[in-house]
């Protein structure tokens, strides 16, 4: 199963828990694992409490860790100035594995599934869901 979302880029964080839960429901699998994957080298998937203040804290952390406004060698290769996006994607990685029981994602009370778009421009992203189990 696949679904698409739009992002603003620049470490935009989008809560996709609902979309993932819907895809899981369609799979009719009750017990196993749900793999969430976003093809691309400037994007990441993780879980976080998707609370606005924390989202801002996390974005600030990412910007400090890999600043977007300094020069990188990669920026000379394509002229896209998104080396920071690639570095963050290689660090966070664009996949998650979540357990499934009774046909539901097992997540903590304050734990949401989020896509982080590190790219330096708005993007449309396609997310793949693979549910393995019975």
């Amino acid at each position: 199963m696949r679904f698409k979302i739009s992002t603003k880029g620049f470490n935009d964080i989008v809560d996709i828990t609902g979309e993932v839960a819907t895809a899981l429901k369609y799979s009719k699998i009750k017990d196993g694992i749900c793999v969430v994957f976003c093809p691309g080298s400037t994007v990441g998937l993780t879980t976080i409490e998707a609370e606005p203040n924390l989202i801002e804290d996390f974005k600030e952390f990412l910007e400090k860790l890999v600043p977007s406004n300094r020069p990188y060698r990669h920026d000379r290769t394509w002229g896209e100035a998104n080396a920071f996006s690639h570095i963050l994607s290689a660090l966070i990685k664009p996949f998650l594995v979540i357990p499934v029981e009774d046909g539901k994602l097992i997540l903590g009370t304050w734990q949401q599934v989020v896509l982080v778009d590190f790219d330096s421009r708005p993007r449309e992203r396609e997310i793949l869901i693979k549910v393995i189990g019975k």
Copy 2:
């Protein structure tokens, strides 16, 4: 399968290799993958050589990377002062996938499975094990 452990919080690192191996044994699966997941947004799972000096090095690294003693926006939301815990959890993520052969986890000689509790207080954590294969 599930098991519980107690942690001290503040980047406490607990070796859970034995518990994971025991859960794998109960599954009776000989070949496939073992998914380890801890529900929650202030916890992480990874592998490391669980040697006391290295554990201290890793804890020092985590504290420098996301200091626990500076203000964050999230701390104003709930008054829990654990924004650093959430940021580290979003970075390290609370899951692992480990190959299984001959009914055993395939790990390096110096590689243990550890839970890192980033939260700002002692916690009881529940770990889920999903073994997929035959």
Copy 3:
């Protein structure tokens, strides 16, 4: 399935996309997931655009994040001076999960599968591939 590669250590980054694709082909599985795992506590697996300038940017980032030339407690344990390698491995982790459709890895256009050898010396690394599906 397993295959071996040689690395130079010191954050050497090796593109293993072709080897993983070959192992997937041998599995004859058309739809599911491909788990890539490298046993060890001084190695990581991730995806990145394996372009020489970006590879240098990522290596520079890793060296800044966890400097190899400062003292760590672990270095006193074994005298190997590779604590930085262990810290980076615990952060990046040595596994990946990639979706499989029509017998092929689903990756972005500019997304390659790479092994990063954080160790402080050349190594031979064995990579395990587990393909789950049908």
